[in-house]
Subunit: 459 residues, 2 copies
Amino acid sequence: MSGFLDKNKQRFLDELFDLLRIPSVSADPAFKDDVLKTAEFLKEKLIAAGAENVELCPTDGYPILYGDKIIDPALPTVLVYGHYDVQPPDPLDLWDSGPFEPVIKKTDIHPEGAIFARGACDDKGQVYMHFKAFEGMLAEDRLPCNVKFMIEGEEEVGSENLAPFLSANKEKLACDVILVSDTSVIANDCPSITVGLRGLSYVEVEVTGPNRDLHSGVFGGAVANPINILAKMIASLQDENNRITIPGFYDDVAVVSAEERKMMNDAPFNLKTYENDLEIGSVHGEEGFTTIERTSIRPTLDCNGIWGGYIGEGAKTVLPSKAYAKISMRLVPNQSSDKITELFKKHFESLAPDSVKVEVKPHHGGEAAVTPTDTPEYKAAHMAMEKSYGKAPIPARGGGSIPIVALFEEVLGVKTVLMGFGLDSDDIHSPNEHYGVFNYFKGIETIPYFFEYYAELKK
Amino acid sequence: MSGFLDKNKQRFLDELFDLLRIPSVSADPAFKDDVLKTAEFLKEKLIAAGAENVELCPTDGYPILYGDKIIDPALPTVLVYGHYDVQPPDPLDLWDSGPFEPVIKKTDIHPEGAIFARGACDDKGQVYMHFKAFEGMLAEDRLPCNVKFMIEGEEEVGSENLAPFLSANKEKLACDVILVSDTSVIANDCPSITVGLRGLSYVEVEVTGPNRDLHSGVFGGAVANPINILAKMIASLQDENNRITIPGFYDDVAVVSAEERKMMNDAPFNLKTYENDLEIGSVHGEEGFTTIERTSIRPTLDCNGIWGGYIGEGAKTVLPSKAYAKISMRLVPNQSSDKITELFKKHFESLAPDSVKVEVKPHHGGEAAVTPTDTPEYKAAHMAMEKSYGKAPIPARGGGSIPIVALFEEVLGVKTVLMGFGLDSDDIHSPNEHYGVFNYFKGIETIPYFFEYYAELKK
């Protein structure tokens, strides 16, 4: 593969750039045509790489790209999952170059350069590694088992149409393992495999005070201000130890053993570097837990957006009718996304005084997951990374959510291996998202090893 | 006057409509040309009405329109103050017709119709009553004293350039009384004169967490979220009795006598009607005070705007770098705007945990005022309204702020009479601002009586 990769590096970059130029923002209907164009683009590329039965499967939302290469039904089958949609690029003014005008720039962490564009790491760059690794394995005639691809276009908006698709296509999607590259390694000299993911409950809340915007001088002091009330409600969701106050919230939280906590905290991590990188005076989180624990084995509650009243330039003395917030909770194993959403809704509504009305609208959710490390797929990933990085990877829990991991297990009865190649510093979901050129090529190099070892271990 | 008014009603409406069509939003630099166009428009109209020495006096911001008619230096001089700038029209989607496309529609409160447009009541419509009343007095040769006009373009953004203008033009502006129509009557069958106004302190706050937007899964739980922190800080500004918690905030609040409170609460007011009109379950304010008291003799704290993170459609799991709020405090007599702004800043900064940075930026402020009722100007206003309404007006405290009242007294040593003709239900500062056709014409009818009685009383 090394030879094939070396010969094609520039082309692999060029093709990824073309993919990154299409703004496939699934959250915003204004980008609908571009999301569909991205699906078409990948369909063509999957066919060109050598896949068969390639099709865009319609759903109630964006289509799911499917394709396969069955070399022998007796051999094991790896299903590659990824997503072609991306996060909205806002706030645009904080990007140093256009979010959909990919460009390679060197950084301290990426001395060989990183590709700057929305989706570079999450997840277009990581999906495209699989396309190119697959193309290489076929070109060099060393594909050791069957492959299926399932690339969706709604991961960033909650994968709503994936569950029905899985249920309706169990046979088509039948496989032995699901391979996903949508996570990070601890560092480029410290490879790791994600063995835990947090779940998610995401809601939008609307607080309504008076039926129209009012003059804050004429009515201020007598009429509940929905912004002030919303602030009170949000503030009360966390206590002085930064514990979440929703009744029952922690009831199902899986307790992590002291031993595992010790192992986690032994991983390379420098608090001072972390704080300096973010330019914060100090970290801030639940009492009694370290930063590594707070971002992996503990649930959280974050406002992802808030708005209400006059937000233009200058001053307007308005007492607004409405205020809104988007609030998400990261969940840990054993917590149920639906149950937490329900608990949130009930509690939040109960916080509202008589003077306002409150509406809680669930956005999307997903379950947390922990991956066992004693399986052939975990071992294959371990061996593949050890071979390509020259160093054994360590198991790590991630703070993010890939709700489909729990879904795959539930509907297809198959385990997932999370072999991602990004870095936490890649600014995914932020302005200036980027993906190291090193990481992109390292992925293309590692993936075929995974196939090789997995096929061997399953013999 | 009645004859002149009756003959010209349609023209008076047409001219006001032309004025309302120019979007003179002083808060937003995008409207700069329109604000200037409005000043030019009024200059032409003031000349046409018969004023002399008409000029647009430059300031560091928008110009101040001046004009006068001195019929005899031995007679008293009335200075008419008003403003030609308007509040921003946002949120635009809540207007039933264009904010700058004036139209007359009937409402329950205005069976003869009301003019719907931004500035219809605040303050273009009320300013223009003075132009037309002046034109009528000249046309009928019954102007009984001298008049000066001073119409500014920055009232909605804090009148920053008015104080230097007053100081530099004391002689030019010399007068016996200042007449302002920028307030309301209690109802069209219950005329009133505003004898108290609240002051204002308006600040903008910025809370910065990490130096860039982060993925809420990767960093959530360990890094302070500026929205959550801002919510906590805002929430803590008011206690469970809705009293403001800023140390020293109430120290200088003028105590209103039990007698005056009783008189205030005897004014016609129906709580159920008030709540129903706003569609709120209940009013909400400082314990121990009635709605009338809360909106007049007590200081307040309201968030006028809040924003941060992702506020577009759908869901984005961002832990934002920054969150902002616009916060204003209405002040009562004896409270100093500068002092309160300083107390707020100090307290708000002290609330910030180590994990965030906070910046407090003062916008503008102004002092509260109480007008005596035993002066010739108050009596003249009382008699004028009694004559035109057929009913004696009652003195009322307003909740809004016209900081220039305190300023006029301080710099020019002159008292102000607040003879306004709006209604609190006119939705000034809100979508669908309107001004009753009845109110517009009633103002034009009443103003000449004021001049007549004032000249008589000052003999």
